[in-house]
Structures are given as C-alpha cells and as structure tokens.
C-alpha cells in the first residue's frame, strides 16, 4: 500500500511515522527542507523536497500507483490544489485533505462529487470542539472518545488513591459493582499499557480506560468518583478558530461563555459573529483581568491560544485562582507525558484529532473510527466485521488475537454487548477493539477480507 503525504508538519510527521511503523510505503513531500530532513532522519519513508501541488513532483513521487494521497499542509488552498492536480494525474487515487476554514464546512460533500473529487475532507477543529465539550462534561476524565456514532463512550480516568477501586482485582469487579459496571479496556501505569486480565489489579495513579454506553456515562463516572459537571460558566482564552467554534457551540447550548482574546481586531470580529458570548480584549495570563472576570466562579477554563507554553501556564494559573477545571490545547506530542505530572489532566490536541481521523480513513477493512490513546501508545478501532474476515463466526476465545489487543465491545444490530470468550461475532456486527501500537498491524490484517492474502 503506497501513501503520499503532502506536508511534513506535526500531523504529516506523525502520520508518516505510524504508517511507516506499520510497514506501509510512505512518500512525504514538503517545501521545507528542514522538515523533510527530520522525517528522513527518523522514519523509514521516502522524502521529496518540493511543492505538493507540482505535477512534476507528484510524478516523481509515483502518484499513479499511489493508493492514498494525504494533503495536510498548513494551507487549505495548497491542500485543495494538490488534490486537484492529483485528481487530474491519477483519478483512481483516494484523496484526503485537511481543510480548516469554516467557510468550507458546507462544501465537504460537494468536493467529493465534483472536482477535485476529494474523498474525505478532514477538519480536526470540528472534532476538537466535540472533544472539548465531552471533557467539560466529564471533568475527571483525561481522555474521551466517541464510538458507534456517539452511542458508546470511550473514557480514560485517573484512579485516585482513596478510590474504593484501587487495589481491586479485575475478577472481583462483577461482585463489587454488579451488572452496570463499565468495561475496562486498559490500564496505563507509568507509561506502560496493560490490557488487564482477571488477576490484574487496579492501582492508585493508574489511568483506567473504559467504555460504556452514552446513557450510562454519568453512572460510570460516579463509580470512579468523577461525577459529571453541571456546566454553566466557561472561560475561553484565545479566540482563534477553535475558540470561535467552541463559543458558537456553547452559545447554542445556552452556556454562559466569555472569551479573552489579545488582538483587538480579532475581538471586533468575534463580537460581530457572536450574540451572547462576552468578548474581552486582554491578555489571558493577566492575573488582574482573570480575577476581575470572576475566574473562581468558572466551571471550566479552556486555553486555546496558539502558544502551548502559554496555554499550560494559564491553565495552571486559572486553577490556582479557583477555576474548577482547565482544558489545555497542546500540539507538541513531546509534552504529553509530562502533562499529568505538572497537574494538567485534560488536554486536547487538534493534531492528534487530525491524525485519528486520517487513520480511520487509511485503515484497511471497514474501519469506522480510530482513537489514539494517551498520545500514541494504543489505538481504539471501531470496525465493521466483514463476512470473510478472520474474526467472524467463531467464539472469541478461539480467535488468536495478538498480545495487547482486546475486543471490548460488539454492537449487534442495536444492542451493545460486552463480550465474554464464548461470544461470536456475526457478519456486519460492529466490533470495538483496543490494541496497543504493536498489535495494530495484525488487527488490521484480521479485519480485512481473507481473500486478499491468498
């Protein structure tokens, strides 16, 4: 499988590294020689310095035999043009483009039918806003994801030392919690991911990943002593694209929202676009301003400025000034491991969202969604079980799943089943699989149709 990635930024880099890790044939194109060098130094991928919308460069990259083209540069226009040129040169190639401008929101489908025939337009900002809202509603959760069109939630919470669940064996959970227990998919302990078996114990400080139905979400959070928040007042620091989208979303939900934005002109734009949101012109790290705007009464502070160091500091400052909760936007993956150490639990990453969405479209088989877990340690994959794939028609215990992979739910018609070893996956069921990074290629193989491998 050959994939061309245009744009060697953070998203391009991480997609390339994942795909190369899964032994796919990756070509990365970027104008910036330094960015390209970073890839060729660390990843087993072919690189080309040049413009991704140049037909000559695309020819050189081998566009004709390429299965998927990803256009993920920072410029919407560059991405669209690259897809257009690729469409002319090789109509059979699937094209994915990252397009972030909200003006294109209505046109995603049109671009699919008409030139440049982009199969999927990815706007991670839409997903990020949803994720931020889910995090707001579940202030104790570190990670949230949606599966099965939102009917199933995937949640990661940190186990407190005084929790009644700390030290409990997995096999004891049924008698402790009864039938309404959430299904525990994995434990993250000191950067090591454990797919728990009956004898494993949960420990204080573990990051516990579980899935549950949407309607049971609040009960499940209660079990981990992380109740859902009653969301009334939100402060957004940074009125960029995500800030605007988030504020519009919250305005619809009638949540009282304030935005602090440093750029005066942007403030005027925001004020013209929004009706109820309070727009404040000032520096989000200005303690006086935060106090004046009643930071201590805020249910959530969301830091969304373009500078992640400032986001981290303002989140910490807000919490110390009395805000109940803070959500921080981080783009550099290298910061993820230290976040919880410095007391920042809820983090969103537009780039990670973009990667998730892209992965979902690149995966073979009928993958419906893919969620990266704790940076990139593991993945949750939701897929349709194809009739001829390896996983269909026999009890789960008879299937040889790779180590570190677990079927955490089967959605049969409308029913969500939390499986035991005796359950059988029927054709066209949806399965939700939790897999550590090393197991992903094998899982992917199992999900695809057998015939391909004869």
């Amino acid at each position: 499988m050959k994939i061309i990635i245009i744009g060697a930024g953070e998203v391009g880099f991480h997609i390339a590294s994942r795909l190369a890790f899964e032994n796919k044939d990756v070509v990365v194109i970027d104008k910036n020689a330094a960015a390209v060098k970073r890839i060729s130094d660390t990843i087993d991928a072919k690189v080309i310095v040049g413009s991704g919308s140049s037909p000559v460069i695309l020819e050189e990259a081998g566009i004709k035999e390429t299965e998927i083209l990803l256009a993920v540069t920072d410029s919407d226009e560059d991405n669209l043009v690259a897809c257009l040129i690729a469409d002319i040169m090789s109509p059979a190639t699937r094209k994915l483009a990252r397009v972030r401008n909200a003006d294109y929101d209505q046109y995603h489908e049109i671009f699919k039918d008409k030139a440049p025939h982009i199969d999927t337009i990815i706007n991670p900002e839409i997903e990020v806003v949803k994720t931020i809202y889910s995090l707001m509603k579940a202030p104790g959760a570190v990670d949230v994801g949606e599966l099965a069109d939102g009917r199933v939630k995937f949640i990661g919470v940190k186990l407190d030392s005084d929790s009644r669940l700390s030290g409990v064996r997995m096999s004891h959970l049924p008698e402790l919690l009864g039938d309404s227990r959430p299904l525990i998919a994995g434990l993250l302990r000191e950067d090591e991911l454990i797919v728990p078996r009956g004898n494993d114990r949960m420990q204080a400080g573990d990051l516990v990943y579980f899935i549950c139905e949407r309607k049971k979400l609040s009960d499940s959070l209660e079990i981990f002593e992380k109740p859902q928040a009653n969301l009334k007042r939100v402060l957004i620091i940074g009125g960029g694209r995500i800030g605007l989208r988030l504020a519009e979303f919250l305005e619809e939900k009638s949540i009282y929202t304030k935005i602090i934005e440093i750029n005066q002109e942007r403030c005027h734009e925001l004020s013209e676009l929004m009706n109820k949101t309070v727009i404040l012109n000032g520096d989000g790290s200005d303690q006086g301003l935060l106090i004046e705007e009643n930071i201590k009464d805020m249910d959530v502070v969301v830091t969304l400025t373009g500078d992640e160091e400032i986001n981290i500091l303002v989140s910490l400052l807000s919490k110390s000034l009395g805000a109940k909760n803070a959500i921080t936007k981080i783009n550099k993956f290298s910061y993820f491991p230290v976040m919880s150490a410095i007391g920042i639990d809820q983090v969103v990453s537009p780039r990670l969202s973009a990667i998730d969405t892209i992965l979902q479209h690149i995966r073979r088989g009928k993958v419906l969604s893919a969620i990266s877990v704790s940076g990139e340690l593991a993945e949750v994959i939701e897929a349709e079980a194809l009739e001829t794939s390896d996983i269909v028609g026999k009890p789960l215990k008879k299937i040889s799943f790779p180590k570190g992979a677990l079927v955490i739910a089967i959605i049969h018609e409308e029913v969500i089943i939390i499986p035991t070893g005796d359950d059988v996956i029927e054709p066209n069921d949806r399965v939700i699989i939790f897999a550590i990074r090393e197991a992903v290629p094998k899982i992917e193989k199992m999900l695809t149709v057998k015939l391909e491998f004869f």
Binding site: L270, E272, I279
Partner: protein, 482 residues
C-alpha cells in the same frame, strides 16, 4: 452647491403639484361647489411658477445629486409644497389668515393632521378633497424620502436601510431614486385601493372612503367630519382603519417584499417585530386601564383602546374617543407614543422604533462595558453589528429631537399657551401626529393657538417630517459656504 439646478428641480415639483390640483378641481366640478374658482387660481399660480423656474434654469442638467443638494431639494421642496398647497385654502376663504391656510397645508404635506378648521363639514367638498389629497401626496414623498433619499444622505442613522430597500440600481441616488420610487408607490397605491374598497363596504360613500384612505395611508389624520372617525360609530370602520393605520406604520419595503411573495419578511425584520410587540403591549395596557372606568364592556375598551393607541403610535391622529377623559396612565402612554412613533421607512413620524431600539441597546452596551471594562461588544440589530457611526448619528438625532422639543415648547409657551397644551402641541407637531392634550385635544383643534404659535408649530412639523437634520442643516453657516 449648484443653486440653479436645485431651483430647477423645485420648479419641476411645483409644476407637478399644480397638475395634481386637477383632481380636487374635478371633484369640485362634480359637486358644483364653491371650490372650483380658488382651485383654478391656485393651479394657475403653481403651474406658471413651476414653468417659470424650469424655463429659467432649463440649461442645468446634472448626472448626480450631491449630499448638500439633496438636503436642499428636500427642505425647499416640502416648504414650497406647503406654501402652494395653502393657496386653495386661502382663496377658498374658509381661513381667516394666510398663516392658518399655511398651517393646514403644511400639516397636510407633513402628514401631521393638526387642523385649524373648526367647522369642517361646511367647507366645500373640493377643498376638503384637496386637504385629504395633500396628505396622500405627502405620504408618497415620505416613503421615497425615508427609503431612497435619507439612507444616501446618511441622516440620523438611516444609512442602515441603504442595503435593504428594493432597488434594481444600487448605490446611485438618481437612477435608484426613480426606480425605487416607482416600486414603492405601486405598493402604496395598491394598499390604498384595498382600503378604499373595504371602507366602501362599510357605510362610507366613495368620496368619504377616498378621503379617509388618503389620510390613513400616509398616517395623516385629516377627516372630512367634524368628529373625525367617531362620526361613523361603526365597529367595522374602526377595525378597518385601525388595521390600515397599523400597516402604514410598517416599513414599506417590507410590504413590497410581502407582495413579492415573502410574507415572512415582516417577522424577520427586528424593527417590525418590535413595533408589533409594542403596539400589542400598549393596546392591552390602555384597554385594561380604560375598562371599567370609561367603558363597561371589554370589547368596547379594546375597540377604543386599540384605535387610539394605533392612531397615535403610527402618528395618524384620528379620534374615535376623547382620551382626555381617560385615566392618567392611558394619557401618559398616549403622550409617550407621540415620541416613539412608527417604523422607519413607513409613512409614520416620531423618533421611529429603530432609533429607540438602538438607543436602548446602546445604553445596555454602556452598562455592560461598566461591568466588563475590557469587553468588546457591538450593538446588533437582527444579528448584524451596527456600525459605530450609525449609532452616533442615531444618538445625535435623539438628543437633537429632545432639545428641539424643549426649545419649541418654551417658545410656544412664551406666546401665551398653557403648559400642557404647549408641550403636547410641540410633541404632536414634531412627531407629525395631530392631536395633543389640553386645548389641542382629540375633540378640539389648533384654531385657538396664537398667530406666532402657529408659525412655530409649522416649523416643528417640517422639522419632524424631514428628520430634523435636513431642515436644521440649512441654518448652519457652513452649509452655505462655497
């Protein structure tokens, strides 16, 4: 400023006005009354003056009209129309002085409806027809003024309407003016026709229906009866007139859109929503207030309450009841209605709903900024931000309105008129309503106002009708500088 060009336009207006006198003339001939000769005289004077001005300045063509010229044409046009319109009244001999005739005529052209005529019914029918007809003409002028001219002159925040007026030719006053005027006049005439037919289905003759339509549609308020609409004492006629007064209080470009098959335009327009809401609330308040104290049945209270509230808030000024006999609260509401007025772009006067709305929103924004000193916010109408320069001119307009109200009230009181009469007559004249309180209540008239007082009120009517700035700017020396 191209003086000669302005005079030429005024000449054309004068000529056209003379031509329209053919209608009262025909009416006079039909009824064979005393009006034929005075109307012929006035017609002769108007047409010859018009021809003279047009001929004198025939060489002056212009492809565009500047802002100053626009204002001068508007102000002079209305003044000249007021003076010439007074001629049939003066020659007809039913007014003691030229000031009285002028008062009546200006009150007509500005669609005020304040009258100095005590015994209306004894006047010749042709003259009465002219009296109603000039209100209708005034209404035509106002629609074009407020929807096509003022938005371009940027007077009192009216530039808000620049984009919203139906017009095939955007952004050029002159071509836009004629096209827009034709569209809106068609709408105006269409609604007028509907009212004539509906009134005739009541107990009115064609003549009476026509005269009352001519004064309802421009929210004028002259009646051909001494006791105004109360003469008919008919629920049907009261209802029809209430509805048409109400319609006339709505922006005519919305009527145009509705007739084009977009009836939702009324609901989408924030000013229209506000107007409907305020009329509804005030009607309920007044009706509840007069129920029991003045009327025994709820139906009657509603009938008279609604009629009077709509009549005053749309600045029409018809009367079916003497609100001076109503309780204090109703009187205060009616007095305040004189300031509020109807929608911009309608034929109504007053401050206009949109300006009052903007003013309240502006006040809220100021209070909000005190609570959040760093906040950035815009005053919005219908989800769209209102530019600051529009807000400034609106606030300026309202301040000027109140100032002029105060100054003119003092001047009128100085001529020997009592307190209540002074302030209500001035409020009523600036707002182009008609009746006031005290000596000038709904069942009396302006005949008792002293000679000088009448000139003050004539001035007030013109000021209010032409959105103040257009008239007052002529008094600024800078305007005349080359």
């Amino acid at each position: 400023m191209r003086w000669r060009y302005v005079l030429k336009i005024v000449g054309i207006l004068t000529f056209a006005l003379g031509l329209t006198m053919i209608f009262p003339l025909l009416c006079g001939i039909y009824y064979k009354d005393q009006s034929v000769q005075p109307i012929l005289q006035s017609m002769g004077i108007s047409i010859s003056l018009g021809l003279f001005l047009t001929y004198m300045f025939r060489g002056h063509q212009a492809s565009y009209i500047s802002q100053r010229e626009g204002m001068a044409i508007v102000a002079f046009g209305w003044t000249v129309a007021g003076l010439l319109g007074a001629l049939p009244f003066f020659f007809g001999g039913i007014f003691p002085t030229f000031a009285d005739a002028c008062f009546e005529s200006v009150s007509g052209f500005t669609t005020t409806g304040a009258s100095v005529l005590t015994d209306i019914e004894s006047a010749p029918k042709g003259i009465l027809f002219w009296r109603s007809f000039i209100q209708w003409l005034g209404g035509m002028g106002i629609i074009v003024l407020s929807l096509a001219i003022l938005p371009f002159l940027g007077v009192g925040g009216m530039q808000l309407y620049k984009a919203e007026v139906p017009s095939p030719v955007p952004d050029k006053l002159k071509p836009r003016l004629s096209e827009t005027a034709m569209l809106l006049w068609k709408v105006y005439a269409l609604i007028s026709m509907a009212e004539v037919v509906l009134l005739m289905l009541g107990s009115m003759t064609f003549y009476e229906a026509l005269c009352h339509t001519f004064t309802t549609m421009p929210t004028g308020g002259f009646s051909t009866k001494n006791t105004s609409v109360a003469y008919y004492d008919s629920v049907y006629i009261d209802t029809i007139i209430t509805i048409f007064m109400f319609l006339s209080g709505i922006n005519f470009s919305l009527h145009y859109q509705a007739l084009k098959g977009r009836p939702l335009a009324f609901w989408k327009d924030p000013e229209c929503r506000f107007f409907v809401f305020i009329v509804f609330v005030l009607t309920i308040m007044v009706s509840a207030n007069i129920y029991g104290s003045n009327y025994d049945s709820m139906g009657e209270s509603l009938r008279y309450g609604a009629f009077q509230v709509v009549s005053i808030v749309t600045t029409t000024g018809y009367a079916t009841a003497d609100y001076l006999l109503w309780p204090g609260m109703s009187q205060v509401i009616i007095f305040l209605c004189m300031f509020l007025g109807a929608s911009a772009g309608s034929t109504g006067g007053g401050m206009k709903c949109i300006r009052v709305m903007l003013c309240f929103k502006y006040i809220y924004r100021e209070l909000f900024a005190l609570i959040h000193p760093r906040s950035v916010s815009h005053v919005k109408i219908g989800g769209k931000a209102v530019p600051d320069d529009v807000l400034k001119s609106v606030i300026g307009f309202l301040a000027l309105y109140v100032c002029l109200f105060a100054i003119c009230s003092i001047l009128l009181a100085a001529t020997g008129v009592d307190f209540v009469t002074s302030i209500s007559a001035v409020a009523s004249s600036i707002g182009n309503i008609g009746p006031g309180f005290g000596m000038v209540g709904p069942v009396s008239n302006y005949a008792a106002i002293p000679y000088l007082g009448k000139w003050i009120l004539i001035w007030c009517m013109l000021l209010g009708r032409l959105e103040i700035y257009t008239v007052i700017i002529l008094l600024v020396p800078e305007f005349w500088r080359k």
